[in-house]
Each structure stands twice: as structure tokens, then as C-alpha cells.
Amino acid sequence: MSESTTAESNSSVLWVAKPLITAARQFGKSLLRPSTIVYPFERLEDPKFRGAVRIAPGKPIGVGQVWDNYRGVHALNIETCISCNLCAFSCPDLCIDMVTVPGGDPKHPKKCPQIDYGKCSYCGFCSDACPEGCLSMTTRYELSVSKRSDMIYSPQRLEEVFKAKLPMSPIRVERPKNEDAILLDPPLCIGCNACARDCPTKCITMVDLPKPVAKAGEKLPKRIWKEPVVNDSDCVRCGTCISVCPKECLFWGTHR
């Protein structure tokens, strides 16, 4: 049913001059300057392409930050990492594990993220979540490995990426001022110091409570007469204190 109408409606000779001329013009342009680069020998992150990345012939494209913004392999600065776990919690793909790195307190070993690039979706939520700016995404994009286990980047490997001083995204997400804070439910607290001990930023201090005098026939609760006070400006909202609290007396909330 189709071919009869098609052939009859347009039964001139094959008229193909326009596309032939267009293709020939493109050929001429491309002969002088093709749009591609010879990839392993030329790279878009090379200095000669910076600022004005030439993609189409004769057209400088790119805001200079084209490559700086790219979300590639992470760089980790182990020294400034505070082991807050936030990167691991924010990861939608659960590809970040916190593993022990040497150089921490033997009782409270230092833990840094280890990233499995077999699972990573490069969403950048971890680097947005990082309160210290020690985990950020770089422009490194070459990830092919021959073994699946090589896709797992230990903190040390991530630090090598950091030491390579690759460009990192200048756009950082600021933490809002009005977010939830750590609040205490005082009657439940036993003053065990666990929260202050494990707080990665040491923003929890234990303050002394006046020990009440026991009335007759009343038994005082068995506890240490101290209470945590959170310094909200230093707190990174990682929730470590909530997780270590044996009495579940710490919780998220908003100051009234």
C-alpha cells in the first residue's frame, strides 16, 4: 500500500544534489580541521584545550570549568578526614565502606571511605555530604581495570588521586543554617560519655550536673552526674553520637 503512493507522488529522477554538496562542504571543512581529537595522545584536559575547548571546528566551547566540574574518581585527603561516616550514609548505592586506616588511636581507630567503583553511580552525594571537604570528585575518568577487585579503591588509593592534584569541582554545596540539630532527652541520659568520646569533631562536652539530694524513700537513678552539650556550630550532624548512645536519649530535632 505504501510503495505505490510513494513512487507516484515523487516520480522525478533521483534528485540528490543538495545532500551531496552539503556532505562535500563538510568534507572540506573536516579535511582542514576534524572535530575529533586523537584521544590517548591528545586529551581534553590538556592545557591547550583549557579555557576554550574546541569541539566543533572553529567554535570555542566550554566555560573553562568544563573539566573542573566533572564528577570522576574521588580524591580523599586522609589527614583531614574525621571519620564521620557521612559519605557512606549519603551513598545511594551503598558503595562506600568505612575501613580502618593506620595512624589512629588504637582504641578508636580512624576509619576512612573505601569506594567500590563497580557500584558507584558518580552522583556526587558523598562529596556534597562531606563536612570537611576532604572527599571530593576529580576529573579523572579512566577506570578500566582487568580485575573486578581492582575496582575497589582503598583510602590509600583515593589519597593517591588526591596527591595527583587533579582539578576538583569549584562548586561546593553549602550547608544550610537551619538544619536539624542533635537534641537530648535529659531524663534518659546516664552520663556515660560515649557520645563525647566518639564524636568525630569533639563538639560534645560533658558538663557536670548538680547531684540532687535524695529524698526519703526515693532512690536516685544510677548514673554519672554529667550531661552532653552539643556545640551546634561545630557539629557536622553525622549522628555518631546517636548511634553509640546506649540509652537512645539523643535524637534529631529542631531548637525551639
Partner: protein
């Protein structure tokens, strides 16, 4: 004789199976089979924080990630009663239009390959790369952007962006002339595509077909005009319509949409140059820390409470009308997410526009439908 075109076949542009009953070169019957790419995105969404669902939405349609982000985020904001700042709305509009340009260029590249035109494939991909460069410069991703957040967008545009974006628009509008010369200027193209895959307006409406397929049948239905969202109510553009309801008509509609997109883009870029402001709503927990308790740490955090509600959004995605429905029962995860893909409907009516043509006509017709299997199967 039944032949299976798919699941791996150059015609499919993805992963689906078109069973075709042929007699010689004539197509007697077709039977589309979808579901090879089902990833359960709607179900996974029920276990994720709203912002984390964005990573899934990017992958719902891998050539129009920004549009699907926009779709879901709008529904989520509706459900959570969040007002979005105006600048964020304009940035979203711009992003969606750039995404439409990128998606249509991808369509152009794939479609000309379907009719055997080799070099425009590379031209389309080359010019799409410029749009992807722009995306990369302000989102950091080239295909999966993770840019929109509940309440706004992740970050503002970098300095100098609008000038570069205008350059890209100028470059592209020159290229579209070239595209038309390569296709419409060729008699073979008309011989291949005229009166092919005809689906009249009444049939389109009967099968619920939307997008360029419907508009190529002469129905000026475009959600950007009919039900304006984001900043579309404030920009000036026309709905691309063609009559003919055939492959050439769909080509004309999409090329006209590309031009109209550039028109919208120039207006949004001008607006963004003139107006500054916040890109994130104030009352939204924007910080992504600890929204999701990993396995083995259940009960780690007390859930934040969100208002209960039901969210709905409909946008004109590059392929057609996409709808999202989000139910929030008060937790941090949506209770239910439902997505409606336009391409699913368009493919499902395949029998109506494929039967009676030749085997060699299947790739151009299916190419003109612009199949994106990611959103078909979700």
C-alpha cells in the same frame, strides 16, 4: 514467517523485541515485546530518600535524564508542599530545553542511521556533545546529572555560562539548516519516508499517543503550552505541528521543536542574566548527610517527618507526555511512585502503524517513534 527483531537488533535502539510476521518483504503482523530492561525503578524508589531517587530518574531515560529529574522532582515538591524559588524554576526550564535539544539530536542521529544515512549520524552526535559539555560545566555530569533537588537545584550556573550557551545555540541553529539539506533535500529521503507509518490523529488519540507523533498528525497538543509548568508560562514559543502523520511529518515536527527550543533557550538565558536569586528553597533539608541508614544500622536515626500528601506532575518530555504520581505517607521515603512513559504507549500501538509496510520500512518508522527503552521498561 515470524522473525524476531530484537532484543538485540540495530533497529530497536535499546532492548526490546519486535516480532514481525513477514511474507517476503511485506509486514503482515507485528507484536512488540517489552520488559527486557525492567529495573524496578518505581519499587526501588519506595526505599529511597527523595533526593536519592534523582539518581534513578536520570537512568529512567538515559537520553533525557534532566526531563525525568524535573518530572519526579515536581511531583515530590507537590507532595511535600515545597515552593521553589523563581530562579531555580528558570534554570530547570533551561535545563529541560537543553535536554530536549540533546535528546532530539540523539534522535536525529539514530533516525538517519535507520534510513542508511551515515555521516549525519556523526554530525548529530557531534552537536549533541556541545550540549553535553554545557551540562557538564554546570552539573558535573554528561548523561546522568543528579542536578535537581527537592526545593530547587544543586548549584547556580557558573560565571560565563550564559555566553557559552548562546554560542552553542548559534552553532546549533546553523547546523539545523545543514541537517535539513541532508534529509529533506534528498529525493531518496522523501521516497523512503513520505506516507510511511501513517497514524491519523483519531487513531493517535484512541491509543493515547502523545508527543511528536501526535503533533505530526496535526494536533497542537503540548503540555508546555496547555498546562504550563516551571517557567514555560512566561516564555514565548510555538507548538510545532505538521500534517501528514507520517515519518516525514515526525521529522518536521522534531526539527521545528529544535528551533523552538533554541528560541526558548535564548529567552531563559536572557532572564537568567538579568535576575539573580536563590536557587534553593529555604525550608528544605538540603544537606544530603545521613538520609539513609545502611544495612545493619536500622533504627540508627529517627525519621524526619514530612507532611503527608499526594504529588502529581506532568511534563512534555522530548518523547511525549510523561506523568509522575508520588504518594507520601509521612516518612522520608515516598510510599508509592508511579511513572507514565510516553514511549511505552507509542510502542504499544506498533501494529497500527507498521502492518502493511515493508521490512525495510520498519527501522525508519520505529526510528521516527524515537524509542527510549529505559523509560519504557523503567
Amino acid at each position: 514467517m515470524w522473525i524476531n527483531m530484537g532484543p538485540q537488533h540495530p533497529m530497536t535502539h535499546g532492548l526490546w523485541n519486535l516480532r514481525v510476521k513477514i511474507d517476503g518483504e511485506l509486514v503482515l503482523d507485528v507484536d512488540p515485546e517489552m520488559g527486557y530492561l525492567h529495573r524496578g525503578i518505581e519499587k526501588i524508589s519506595e526505599d529511597r530518600h527523595y533526593n536519592e531517587i534523582i539518581t534513578l530518574m536520570d537512568r529512567t531515560c538515559y537520553v533525557a535524564g534532566m526531563a525525568w529529574e524535573h518530572l519526579f522532582i515536581q511531583a515530590a515538591e507537590h507532595a511535600l508542599h515545597i515552593q521553589v524559588p523563581e530562579r531555580a524554576q528558570w534554570i530547570r526550564t533551561m535545563s529541560e530545553e537543553f535536554q530536549r535539544v540533546a535528546s532530539h539530536l540523539m534522535w536525529y542521529a539514530a533516525f538517519v542511521q535507520d534510513i542508511g544515512l551515515m555521516s549525519p549520524f556523526l554530525y548529530g552526535m557531534r552537536d549533541r556533545d556541545l550540549v553535553l559539555d554545557l551540562f557538564q560545566s554546570y552539573t558535573g555530569g554528561r548523561l546522568t546529572y543528579e542536578y535537581m533537588r527537592v526545593g530547587g537545584v544543586r548549584n547556580d550556573l557558573p560565571p560565563g555560562f550564559t555566553d557559552q550557551a548562546r554560542k552553542v545555540c548559534d552553532w546549533l541553529s546553523d547546523r539545523f539548516v545543514e541537517y535539513d539539506r541532508l534529509c529533506l533535500g534528498s529525493d531518496i529521503f522523501h521516497r523512503r519516508c513520505d506516507n510511511l507509518g501513517v497514524l491519523k490523529a483519531s487513531e493517535c488519540i484512541r491509543y493515547g499517543i502523545t508527543g511528536p507523533m501526535l503533533r505530526s498528525a496535526g494536533v497542537a497538543r503540548d503540555l508546555r503550552k496547555d498546562r504550563p509548568y516551571a517557567a514555560y508560562g512566561q516564555v514565548d514559543f510555538e507548538v510545532a505541528v505538521a500534517d501528514g502523520a507520517d515519518v516525514t511529518g515526525r521529522y518536521l515536527v522534531r526539527m521545528e521543536e529544535l528551533r523552538q527550543s533554541l528560541r526558548i533557550l535564548r529567552q531563559t538565558l536572557d532572564w537568567l542574566d538579568r535576575n539573580a536569586g536563590p536557587v534553593m528553597a529555604e525550608n528544605v533539608p538540603r544537606w544530603m548527610g545521613a538520609p539513609y541508614a545502611p544495612v545493619g544500622r536500622e533504627g540508627y536515626l529517627l525519621k524526619r517527618e514530612y507532611p503527608k500528601g499526594v504529588g502529581f506532575s506532568a511534563i512534555e518530555e522530548p518523547h511525549g507526555e510523561a506523568l509522575a504520581y508520588v504518594v507520601n505517607e509521612g516518612g522520608e521515603h515516598p510510599y508509592r511512585v508511579k511513572l507514565k512513559s510516553p514511549v511505552f504507549v507509542n510502542i504499544a500501538a506498533a501494529r497500527q502503524y507498521l502492518v502493511g509496510y515493508r521490512v525495510a520500512d520498519i527501522p525508519p518508522i520505529m526510528g521516527s517513534v524515537d524509542v527510549c527503552v529505559g523509560e519504557v521498561d523503567r
